[in-house]
C-alpha cells in the first residue's frame, strides 16, 4: 500500500472515532499517532485490513490518552457506548471534517495546516517541511487551530467557499518537500468535487489541472521561471489539459459562473493556443471582465491590463493599467513590460529594475533582473 492510499483512509478513521464519542481534537491526535506508526511498520508488515488496523490502533491510543487525562468513569462511559449507532457514512464524515478544518474562525495558514493533517493525512513533520518552519512550531499551530474550532459542532452546515479557498492556497503556495503539495491539493479537490456536486469545486479542480499541465515547462532545470509566452508548449501535459477542459465545459454548461470557473476559462484559452501568438486575447479580456465583476480584486484588474495590452496594443494596456492601484504588487513589472512593447526602452529598463527590487519571490526577482539587464544591454548597443 502506498502512502497516498494510506492518507486517503485518514479522515474516515477520524470520523469513526468521533462517531464512537471521541472529541475531534483528541481523536485527530490519536489518528496522527496511528498514521506515524503505520508509516513505520507497514512497509515490512502490511496489514490485511488497513482501515481496520488504523481504527484499532487509533482507538487504543485514544483510550490511553483519556485514561491518563480524564476520570475512569468518563472512559467507561465511552467504551460502554460501543460501536457507532447506525450505518457508517464515510463521505458525510469526511466532508464535515473539510468544513471544520476550513472553519471561518481559523486564519488561512491555520486552516491550511489543519486541513493537510486531519483531511490530507500528512504528518506534522511533512507539513512543517512544506512551509519551512520547525516541526514544534507547526505542531503548535495545529493544536491552536484545533482549540479554536473545539466549540464547533461537527454536524453544523459548513461553508464550501472557505474549503475551496484553503485548497487553492495549498496548490498555489508552499515548498514541495517529501510531499508534493500541488498533487496533494489536486487529490483533495477531486475528493471534495466528488462529494459535493458544486460547479465552483470542479471549476477549481479544472483550474488546478490546467496549471499543473504546464508544470514541466514552467521552470528551467535550475529553478528559474519561464514566462508563459516563452514556455515550450510541447512539454505541456495534454492529458491533464483535456481533463481540465472537459470538467470546465461541463461546469460552464450549468450556467452558474464563479471565480474559479472564470480563472479556469482563462487557463483553458492559453492551453488552447498552439503558440503564444495564437492566443485568443480578446476572449481572455472578456473573461477578465467577468472575473472583475465576480471578485473586485485589484490583481484581476492588473492581469486584465496585460491581456488588454496583448489584445489591443501596448497603449490600450497602459490606459487599462492607469485604473490599477499603484500599490498592487507586480504592477511595476506589468508597466515595464507594456512600456517596452510601446518602444519606451529606457523607461522600461528602469521600471524592470524597480520591479525586481520590489519582487516578493526569488524566481520573479531573478527574471525581472534579467529583463532589466537585457534592456540595458540593448540601450548600450
Amino acid at each position: 500500500m502506498n502512502e497516498t492510499l494510506l492518507r486517503e483512509l485518514i479522515p474516515a478513521v477520524t470520523g469513526v472515532l468521533v462517531r464512537r464519542g471521541a472529541d475531534f481534537a483528541t481523536a485527530e491526535d490519536a489518528v496522527q499517532e496511528a498514521l506515524i506508526r503505520a508509516l513505520a511498520t507497514w512497509p515490512k508488515n502490511p496489514p490485511a485490513d488497513p482501515k481496520g488496523w488504523l481504527i484499532t490502533v487509533a482507538w487504543r491510543k485514544f483510550l490511553d490518552t483519556t485514561r491518563t487525562e480524564s476520570s475512569r468513569h468518563a472512559r467507561e462511559a465511552l467504551v460502554a457506548a460501543g460501536p457507532p449507532p447506525g450505518p457508517a457514512d464515510d463521505t458525510a464524515d469526511t466532508l464535515q471534517l473539510y468544513f471544520l478544518c476550513a472553519h471561518p474562525s481559523l486564519t488561512p495558514a491555520s486552516a491550511v495546516a489543519l486541513t493537510l493533517r486531519a483531511v490530507g493525512g500528512l504528518t506534522t513533520r511533512q507539513i512543517a517541511e512544506a512551509y519551512l518552519v520547525p516541526e514544534a512550531t507547526m505542531a503548535q499551530r495545529i493544536s491552536r487551530a484545533k482549540r479554536t474550532v473545539s466549540g464547533v459542532r461537527l454536524d453544523e452546515p459548513g461553508d464550501l467557499a472557505t474549503v475551496l479557498r484553503v485548497l487553492y492556497l495549498v496548490f498555489n503556495e508552499g515548498y514541495s518537500g517529501e510531499v508534493d503539495l500541488a498533487d496533494e491539493a489536486i487529490r483533495l479537490t477531486r475528493q471534495v468535487t466528488s462529494m459535493t456536486d458544486d460547479e465552483e469545486a470542479s471549476g477549481l479542480l479544472a483550474l488546478m489541472l490546467l496549471h499543473h499541465a504546464r508544470r514541466a515547462a514552467r521552470t528551467t532545470p535550475n529553478g528559474g521561471l519561464v514566462p508563459l509566452a516563452e514556455q515550450d508548449r510541447s512539454r505541456w501535459d495534454t492529458a491533464l489539459i483535456a481533463e481540465g477542459v472537459a470538467i470546465l465545459q461541463a461546469d460552464l454548461a450549468r450556467d452558474r459562473l464563479g471565480e474559479y470557473q472564470a480563472q479556469a476559462a482563462i487557463a483553458a484559452l492559453h492551453a488552447d493556443a498552439q503558440t503564444a501568438e495564437e492566443t485568443d486575447w480578446v476572449q481572455i479580456v472578456e473573461w477578465y471582465d467577468e472575473l472583475d465583476r465576480l471578485t473586485d480584486n485589484p490583481v484581476v484588474r492588473l492581469n486584465r491590463a496585460v491581456a488588454v495590452g496583448e489584445a489591443d496594443g501596448a497603449q490600450a494596456g497602459l490606459a487599462a493599467l492607469e485604473q490599477v492601484d499603484p500599490v498592487v504588487p507586480r504592477r511595476t513589472a506589468v508597466e515595464a513590460y507594456l512600456r517596452e512593447r510601446s518602444g519606451e526602452i529606457a523607461l522600461a529598463a528602469r521600471l524592470y529594475g524597480d520591479a525586481a527590487r520590489a519582487a516578493t519571490n526569488l524566481a520573479e526577482r531573478d527574471h525581472l533582473t534579467r529583463q532589466a539587464a537585457r534592456l540595458h544591454s540593448v540601450l548600450r548597443d
Binding site: V133, A136, F171
Partner: protein, 136 residues
C-alpha cells in the same frame, strides 16, 4: 504566512531613543532579565506557532574573499569599530506584516538598566518566498 527576519544590531540603525551603557556595564540581574525577556518572547512565539529560528552572533567578524585560482582566501579584519554590527536574529512566520511589526515592537521593549525598556531599534526584513503557481 510570511517569514520575517528581525535583526538585532549592536551598532548601526537610527539614533537611540534612550541612552544606556553597553551591556557589560549592567548588573548581572539586569543582564539576566534582558536575556530572560528574549527567551520568554521566543517561547511565546513557539506556543503561537509563529517561531522559526533565533541565533546570537559573536561580535567578532572577519571579512574574507576569493583571491584567484590556486590561492588561499584573503581575510581582512576583525574591525573594532564597524558602523553596523549585527548581534543576532529572530525569524518569525506570521499572517501579516502588521503582526510582524507588533511582535518586533514587543521584542524591542526588552529591559535594560533598572529594568526599563531600552527602546531598541530592530531591523525587519521580509523573506523572499517561492513563486505562486497561478499568476495570470
Amino acid at each position: 504566512m510570511a517569514k520575517y527576519l528581525l535583526l538585532k544590531h549592536y551598532r548601526g540603525g537610527p539614533a537611540r531613543v534612550v541612552d544606556f551603557d553597553p551591556i557589560d556595564r549592567w548588573t548581572p540581574t539586569e543582564i539576566d532579565a534582558h536575556v530572560q525577556y528574549m527567551n520568554d518572547w521566543a517561547a511565546k512565539l513557539e506556543g503561537t506557532g509563529e517561531y522559526v529560528d533565533g541565533q546570537a552572533l559573536s561580535p567578532e567578524g572577519t571579512f574574507v574573499r576569493y583571491d584567484g585560482e590556486g590561492r588561499p582566501p584573503v581575510t581582512d579584519g576583525p574591525f573594532a569599530e564597524t558602523k553596523d554590527l549585527i548581534a543576532g536574529w529572530m525569524v518569525i512566520d506570521v499572517e501579516t506584516y502588521e503582526r510582524a511589526l507588533e511582535l518586533a515592537g514587543e521584542l524591542s521593549a526588552a529591559p535594560g538598566p533598572d529594568g526599563k525598556p531600552i527602546y531598541e531599534w530592530l531591523e525587519i526584513r521580509p523573506f523572499l518566498t517561492a513563486p505562486p503557481t497561478i499568476t495570470e
